[in-house]
Amino acid sequence: MALQITTARPDPALLDLPWSTPLEDWPEEHLAALPRGISRHIVRFVKLSGRVIAVKEIKEDIARREYAMLRNLRRLDQPSVEPFGVVSGRVAADGTPLDACLLTRHLKFSLPYRALFSQGLRPGTETRLIDALAVLLVRLHLTGFWWGDVSLSNTLFRRDAGSFAAWLVDAETGELLPALSDGQRAHDLDIARVNIAGELMDLQAGELLDEAIDPVVISNRIVTRYEELWRELTAMEEFDTGERWRVEERIRRLNSVGFDVDELAISTDIDGTRISIQPKVVDAGHHSRRLLRLTGLDVGEGQARRLLNDLDSYRAASDRQNDDEELVAHDWLTRIYEPLTRRVPRELSGKLEPAELFHEVLEHRWYMAERAQHDIPIEDAIEDYVASILPSKPDEVSVVGVDTVEMPVIAD
């Protein structure tokens, strides 16, 4: 059978990869990182036209199913890795048929949880990862995606203004349903809890996680965080007609956890004394959508919130509250954000995403100001940050395939 390549973005360089060799034996020259660890399937990261692509060897029907599933999730605007293609019909030199390969694009500046733990952690990182995973799981469940294999290893994390945003990497066991039953949600949560505890226990066995941290306690957090958020996003609320401010209040609360309300059901009882409200359609990305509309910047939700705050301060400081918001945003972008992020020397640009760098510089300025006991201009803060802090940060633009006992392996 002839080699068959299905891809939404045809790249002739795909043909140069050694498809007639079992993935396990691919020569180093094609790899972006050396393989590590035990995985259910063989996975390799390869360099392709200046990009990094993850290649997973699996049976053709499963590869096609997962490819289609990832495309659907992207279409539904869910944070998941971008599917790149499926290569099937592979045959080894001696004529034995080989399994198909599923190709996904490496998510820039994303970090596997093991890479984070091998860097030496700021305290509380493990809980921030769990919080990010809880948000991802709630979003997926609201869309009708039943994951089936929720774990830290099936997730990638991106820094998001001091916390993290989680992305789905592995959709192999997932199903898209019109809606999830309570039992299905509980099942995913239970799997998540057991997997997270197992993953943390493994980190402890590998001496990468402080013995004082209790994996069981941390893993239970996925359940409580998920349930809090789920309730906030879906629960019905009842109050007297006199308390109509509570409609606004609910919407503000949803915005503050990063969600927009696209549809809110409001009903009254027969004599009209009680009102009940229930969000019907909510959409993640409240702050990042607003920032995108104002500036064209496409960044994480936490980063967007941070940038919007800075935009507000700029507006107040330049006394332009009465000007058109878009105009002020444009000026902030060209006078503050862009000049600042351009100050990073090229050789240091793989350390942090521009928006994360901006957040870090704002933090840095705050600490500088505290020490100096007076305000510090942002230009001084960036200069000091680039000179004293940024060079010691690890490169995170393409961290792939990390083992717990190794430092992150960096692809060129």
């Binding site: 035990i38 049976k59 290893s153 039992g183 099942h187 226990m201 493994d202």
Partner: protein, 368 residues
Amino acid sequence: MATVKYDESTRIYPGNDTPSVDRLNIDIKDGEFLVLVGPSGSGKSTALRMLAGLEEVNGGKIWIGDRDVTNLSPKDRDVAMVFQNYALYPHMSVADNMGFALKIAGVDKGEIRKRVEEAAKILDLEPYLERKPKALSGGQRQRVAMGRAIVRSPQVFLMDEPLSNLDAKLRVQTRTQIASLQRRLGVTTVYVTHDQVEAMTMGDRIAVLKDGILQQVATPREMYDNPANVFVAGFIGSPAMNLVSVPVTDGGVKFGAHTLQVPRESLEGAGKNVIVGVRPEDVEVTGQGEGLEITVDVVEELGADAYVYGTPTDENIKLEGGDDALAKPFIARVDGRRVPMKGDKIWVQPHTDHMHVFNAESGARLSH
């Protein structure tokens, strides 16, 4: 250990008119290995998920032992879905890999060790308990994953197409392993597959579903010898049973040139036609002009015998079942020393002892 009972259990998805599982009744015995089998859309996975608590039950009840679990959450049912997440942790010993879920559940150390050792014995993993998964072979790693489910000692194991992502060779090996393991453990098990060979080789009993409706539940042997209807007859067995629509005549049914004796009472209520079913190994090759004339298309030599795939020469005779797009061949197993050639004409008829007769309208079995 426990029995499982589907009691008129029904699942209708929101927005659907017809149930995905329609008033299902199955009594599963303590320790039994029951396989739910059917084509896609038959409701087999939905039925399993109803038992697991993953799908709502809209009508009827589900019992585990003497507990009505219909409205219990998945984790309160004491069932375990096996094999879904095959993950091994590289820095933890084999024993810890098997037992860590018990630690999460708050089981004390001594008890965990005891259960892990028991499971390791059954799985032939005793010598490896202190090693890291890296030092194990692929098959051993898979057994460690099974161990994770075993140590929980649930009342019921549930498996939903656990072999679907394995290659053909490993699938056959693992199939045998699961079946023998289940017998050693004696834990009631419900297993879903679309593959009738898997169903036949693994189950104590098989439940065949189609369009959400239970067609038959029986041992593999009963199901093979006495399929309850045309669907089961065509679905169970490989190669499949030949199903030929033939006219009813005086004292029997007309099969090509022959009249096959069928007791009158069996044909009561049947219309002008019935469907005669005959398995390839029960086809007798007769002399010229006797029975049904078949033109040979393909011969598959197996040594001791051979399978002949052909088409009835009379174009009016159609074979039932199979794919809509493909005309189904008539299949006969013949003596390996007397094999016809492609293009030959042969005459065949069923061994009357092993003939199945079905109602042409309802598909229900008429003969006994």
